[in-house]
């Protein structure tokens, strides 16, 4: 394939990737978008395979078969509730792949047209070492994120004295190593960079609490994009550069959206330690001296059956309990009674962006019954029942009233304005932010203490026997 033709093919692949993300602007076009992405990937791979210096295909085919089989099996088996872990695991692979590609380029620079071993162009060395370092950070960082999310290690932040100083020192050391490497170009230095970057990746993620992992994952996603860009410059491949920039922007924007949704600065998240004193913050609210109104599944069924409209507010607890199917069944029964049912999704409900939407979609809830905060928040005032299931922080009015609260300034769903608020959760314990929810003690609140799934099933039964 001539160089010009392959340049056009890579451009075509880039456009496909842009269209893939563009498709996600609406659920209607999203599947088409994914197809674009697949087409782009096929074009990019075939174009590379047709390059004059790609001669032996058996090993490549073997690699793609092994990798493809593993990927397919994982993708088909994974539970939708395990999405955050899955994304973290996949990211770690991209990071590691970037490291290996950079290593290959370092050992065989001629294949990439960037010089000969021992005399690689300086620009390429710079790009390569940045790509490698970011790749290695992404690798170990994502591994830690995965382990925390999967529960392999405790999600609690690991903090120790001098942590930030150590990280800063290692960061400086890294810069020194890169400069040295660009001058010396030694193999030992290359692997030293990989090793050091790996350690840094580990150290910058351990102080961050398990629940902050989604921000971290997005951040690592963004990093891996910029690493791809760096390697794209080395390989003089526009498809890599464009894709890297897309992925880099996407990760950065998602982190930004999450931080804004939590009303925390990015640095606050990255510097870590949040959630370390959960236990301390929780009881501080004091739940002994206030009274809560507790209800049963029958009470809930009765209240909702007599309502005209119900808004369901799902949260992290729904995901944990895998209650989405039972919840949808409950909603169907209510709708059959002529009650208007809609779902309100807070931008940071659950543990990753769009988490609730995917789970509801999995349970066959049509997406036009599911609304974003801005679309539905005004409707709570004219709604009879807000059914809050496994959500907590995203409904807590202290975010509006108490400037001392860690969630102060975060936009919340105004469930308090509806006629009755039903809270499904197992206890009075606080949510992710560790802040007591004042709504629990309001007169128009009824607590339904149980696992979210069990409670939904009980309400379904109660509704059936009414």
């Amino acid at each position: 394939m001539s160089e010009n033709l392959s340049a056009f093919a890579y451009l075509f692949a880039s456009v496909c990737f842009i269209m893939a993300l563009r498709g996600l602007s609406s659920p209607l076009t999203a599947r088409m978008g994914n197809i674009y992405g697949i087409v782009g990937m096929i074009v990019a791979v075939v174009t590379t395979l047709a390059a004059p210096n790609v001669l032996s295909f058996s090993m490549i085919l073997l690699g793609m078969l092994i990798g493809g089989a593993i990927g397919t099996i994982i993708a088909l088996k994974i539970e939708m509730t395990a999405l955050p872990q899955l994304v973290a695991a996949f990211h770690s692979l991209v990071g590691l792949a970037a490291v290996f590609v950079a290593a290959a380029a370092f050992y065989e620079p001629a294949a990439y047209g960037i010089g000969v071993p021992g005399d690689i162009h300086v620009a390429s060395l710079v790009e390569m070492s940045i790509g490698t370092a970011i790749g290695a950070i992404t690798f170990t960082g994502s591994i830690v994120a995965f382990a925390k999310l999967q529960g392999l290690v405790s999600g609690a932040p690991v903090v120790f004295a001098g942590q930030h100083a150590l990280n800063a020192f290692l960061g400086l050391l890294m810069i020194g190593l890169v400069v040295w490497f660009c001058g010396e170009e030694s193999t030992a230095l290359f692997w030293a960079i990989v090793l050091l970057a790996g350690v840094i990746g580990l150290l910058i993620i351990i102080p961050i609490g398990g629940a902050d992992m989604p921000v971290v994952i997005s951040m690592l996603n963004s990093y891996s994009g910029w690493a791809a860009c760096g390697i794209g410059f080395t390989l003089a491949n526009p498809a890599l550069i464009v894709t890297g920039a897309l992925v880099g922007s996407s990760g950065a924007i998602l982190s930004y959206i999450m931080c804004k949704g939590m009303n925390r600065s990015f640095f606050n998240v990255i510097l870590g330690g949040f959630g370390a004193d959960d236990a301390a913050a929780g009881p501080a609210g004091g739940d002994g001296d206030k009274t809560v109104r507790q209800g049963s599944a029958d009470d809930a069924a009765f209240i909702m059956k007599n309502a005209g409209s119900v808004i369901i507010v799902p949260g992290y607890g729904m995901a944990v309990a895998q209650a989405q199917h039972a919840l949808r069944e409950m909603a169907e029964l209510l709708k059959a009674e002529g009650i208007k049912v809609s779902y309100a999704i807070h931008p940071v409900a659950g543990r990753m962006p769009g988490h609730m939407n995917v789970l509801l979609a999995e349970a066959n809830v049509p997406y036009d019954e599911v609304f974003e905060l801005e679309q539905i928040n005004r409707d709570f005032a004219s709604t009879d029942v807000a059914f809050v299931i496994g959500a907590n922080d995203v409904t807590n009015p202290v975010a509006k009233t108490d400037p001392a609260s860690p969630i102060y300034g975060m936009p919340i769903l105004d469930v308090e304005n509806s006629g009755t608020v039903l809270f499904v959760k197992r206890s009075l314990s606080p949510g992710y932010a560790g802040v007591d929810n004042v709504l629990f003690y309001r007169d128009n609140t009824m607590m339904l203490f149980d696992d979210a799934k069990t409670m939904c099933e009980d309400i379904v039964n109660a509704l059936g026997s009414m």
């Binding site: 990737f17 842009i18 993300l21 563009r22 996600l24 659920p27 599947r31 992405g37 990937m41 990019a44 590379t48 090993m59 490549i60 793609m64 092994i66 593993i70 990927g71 994982i74 999405l83 899955l86 994304v87 996949f90 990211h91 991209v94 792949a97 970037a98 290996f100 590609v101 290593a103 290959a104 380029a105 050992y107 294949a111 990439y112 994952i217 996603n221 794209g232 390989l235 003089a236 526009p238 498809a239 464009v242 890297g244 920039a245 992925v247 922007s249 996407s250 990760g251 924007i253 998602l254 999704i345 931008p347 962006p353 939407n357 995917v358 066959n364 049509p366 997406y367 036009d368 974003e372």
Partner: protein, 134 residues
């Protein structure tokens, strides 16, 4: 006569040398011109940098236009497409003869393939769940 012949030959040689020198000069001129023409005098890096800057703008806009309900699929789709790094792996794994580089390339092909297949399939699974009200 012998002298004449030798002089003639010498003259011929001198002329040959002259024309060669001219050729060489022309070639040198061509060299400099070509290197200007081929890229208009600009390093390719500048082109790639321009592409990079524009791609950042496209990325910014295209991601902001993603509906919040699809932010989870966005994560898995970007994850899948970032595996386009496989093109680097293929080049490394491409040569006929075995080398460190080829082994690294092979490993990278495996890793990236896991991601490509895994990422696109999981995205498709997620997206196929999003249905409109019947």
């Amino acid at each position: 006569m012998a002298t004449d012949k030798i002089v003639e030959q010498a003259t011929g040689l001198a002329e040959g040398a002259k024309s060669l020198a001219e050729n060489a000069e022309a070639l040198a001129a061509q060299v400099s011109q070509l290197s200007v023409q081929a890229s208009g005098g600009t390093d390719v890096f500048v082109f790639y940098f321009t592409i990079f800057v524009l791609a950042c703008f496209v990325g910014y806009y295209v991601v902001w236009s993603v509906t919040p309900a699809l932010h989870s699929p966005l994560m898995s789709v970007t994850n899948a497409i970032s595996s386009v790094i496989i093109v680097g792996a293929l080049i490394a794994a491409g040569p006929d003869d075995m080398s460190f580089s080829k082994v690294f390339g092979f490993i990278a092909v495996v890793l990236a393939s896991v991601n490509i297949f895994g990422g696109f399939i999981v995205s498709q699974r997620m997206l196929s769940m999003f249905k409109k009200k019947k």
